[in-house]
């Protein structure tokens, strides 16, 4: 049974200024099996974040439905952990309290929260920074705290919305490697939104290539490249070439030809 089932989901936004409807997502059907690592890849405005927000429960589809483990999604919940583009940590809480924020809301004792937090702090490599405040850490470290916070809930599904978008290249590569390691150890389903072809191919077991206006899934590609993945290998580049051809809108090529 699929963990996440997206069936005939469409989303239209009403443009109040122009009195028109904008179709953000058009009849999306997609299923993600347990322990899959799905990357939603597409240009900005293709609705990949909207689709993910529907799985998270922040947005509702205009038609169709989304289920996780057979249950329809109506609101955000701790069964789906989310890592945001910016870490979105509570700036008034030290690292360990942020990691254990879920337990604070559940009313757990301080000692229990501290202990649970430590495990995930160690997992994301922030040992020694337990009592630092988010403002004292770098962007990459904050992002690790955000990942630890999502992992601590032990969710069925982890949703990640361009979590490494704001990091520099070196940091991003480190984080990608660690994320793959955590995913292999932790065994969970991940839906990862990105606009980077390399990132999608480095991480995913599947890549769903999306196109914009209206947002549609162009192709769902299973990636069976061996890990750790080599971004310079010929097979990697074959898949990359294929994806780039999917993403490249034909009319741009026509424009280039006419310029010559």
């Amino acid at each position: 049974m699929a963990t996440i089932q997206i069936s005939n989901v469409s989303k239209t936004f009403r443009d109040l200024k122009r009195k028109t409807d904008v179709i953000a997502l058009d009849d999306i059907t997609l299923s993600v099996e347990k322990n899959e690592f799905l990357c939603l890849l597409g240009p900005s405005g293709c609705g990949k974040s909207t689709l993910q927000n529907m799985i998270a429960g922040f947005e509702k589809p205009s038609s169709g439905h989304v289920t996780v483990d057979g249950r329809a999604i109506s609101s955000p919940g701790a069964d789906r952990g989310m890592v945001f583009q910016h870490a979105n940590l509570m700036p008034w809480l030290p690292v360990w309290e942020n990691v254990a924020f879920h337990l604070l809301l559940r009313g757990s004792q301080k000692l229990m929260r501290r202990e649970a937090a430590q495990r995930y702090i160690d997992m994301v490599g922030l040992t020694g920074f337990e009592n630092h405040f988010p403002s004292e850490l770098s962007g990459g470290m904050n992002q690790r705290v955000g990942i630890a916070r999502a992992l601590l809930m032990n969710p069925q599904v982890i949703l990640m919305d361009e979590p490494f978008g704001a990091l520099d290249e070196q940091n991003r590569m480190d984080m990608q490697n660690e994320l793959v390691g955590i995913w292999q150890k932790h065994a969970g389903t991940i839906v990862f939104v990105t606009h980077s072809v390399d990132e999608a191919l480095t991480l995913g077991t599947h890549v769903a290539v999306m196109t914009a206006r209206p947002g549609r899934i162009r192709e769902l590609i299973p990636i069976d490249l061996p890990r750790p993945r080599d971004v310079t290998s010929p097979r990697f580049n074959d898949v990359k070439r294929h994806i780039l051809s999917l993403l490249r809108p034909p009319r741009v090529e026509a424009g280039l030809v006419s310029m010559e």
Partner: protein, 269 residues
């Protein structure tokens, strides 16, 4: 880098110059001594008012602590009620569109009325005692606290609320664990403005509606031409206002310690 001691000295230069200049000017005889008492005279009267040294302040000799206590009680009561109402109503208005539509228009009509203009009604309603003064203090500090709380709640980062919802928080928990902590810096800014208004209105109320407290001593001494005591009362009010602001700042530093490395400090010359 300048030594700490030199910086300590720098702080005192201007106040000392003012006091010395004032002392010299008063003693020079340009003005009758009674109209502008010298700092030392003020200090002497103040000392008698506080410690009953030689009885030069007559009925007020040694009564400073009671006068001060009377004023502090009014400030605390009015400010306390204003904080309770201002913060809770502010959170409700900032959080719920519905509460905002129901209550905001009324508040917007009441807000521009200067608290002082309520004095006649306050006296008619509450008589001459603590109550009208507390009512005025409440009015004066309520609006700054309320408005700052509303602003703090409304400017709470939506993404933090999302993060809170993501880890399983319901509305009540999001309010308690995300929105209110996020609004605290703003709430404290409101409290600091509020405590200033509280002292202003306590003294105003004591000038007209109450027969005790520092403001009353100030006004009473004016009638008896004791300008030294007027100045001592002014200094007392200033000192207490400063100390109460200091207390709030100390509390703020404790509660908002996480802000320490995020606030911007200007370069030191």
């Amino acid at each position: 880098m300048k030594s700490l001691r030199l910086k300590e000295v720098e702080r005192w230069i201007v106040p000392v110059l003012i006091l010395v200049g004032w002392e010299i000017f008063s003693r020079s005889g340009t003005l009758p001594a009674a109209l502008l008492p010298a700092p030392t005279t003020v200090l002497w009267s103040w000392a008698d008012w506080v410690f009953a040294i030689d009885g030069n302040t007559q009925t007020y000799s040694g009564s400073w602590i009671f006068d001060t206590a009377a004023s502090i009680t009014r400030v605390m009561a009015g400010f306390g009620i204003a904080t309770a109402f201002g913060v809770s109503l502010g959170v409700a208005i900032g959080w719920s569109r519905r509460v905002e539509t129901i209550i905001e228009p009324t508040l917007q009509v009441l807000r521009p009325i200067p608290p002082v203009s309520w004095i006649p009604l306050a006296i008619i309603w509450f008589g001459i005692a603590n109550k009208p003064a507390i009512f005025l203090v409440f009015l004066g500090s309520f609006f700054p606290i309320l408005l700052n709380t509303i602003q703090g709640v409304k400017s709470c980062d939506r993404n933090l609320i999302r993060a809170g919802a993501m880890v399983g928080g319901d509305q009540r928990q999001l309010l308690r664990y995300v929105v209110v902590p996020a609004a605290l810096p703003s709430i404290f800014a409101g409290l600091r403005i509020g405590i200033g208004s509280a002292w202003m209105l306590t003294v105003t109320a004591e000038l007209v509606a109450v027969k005790s407290g520092l403001g009353y001593v100030l006004w009473d001494s004016y009638y008896f031409l004791r300008y030294d005591l007027v100045l001592a009362a002014m200094a007392s009010i200033g000192l207490l206002g400063f100390l109460s602001d200091l207390a709030i700042r100390a509390l703020m530093a404790r509660v908002l310690h996480w802000q320490r490395n995020t606030t911007i400090q200007g370069g030191e010359g």
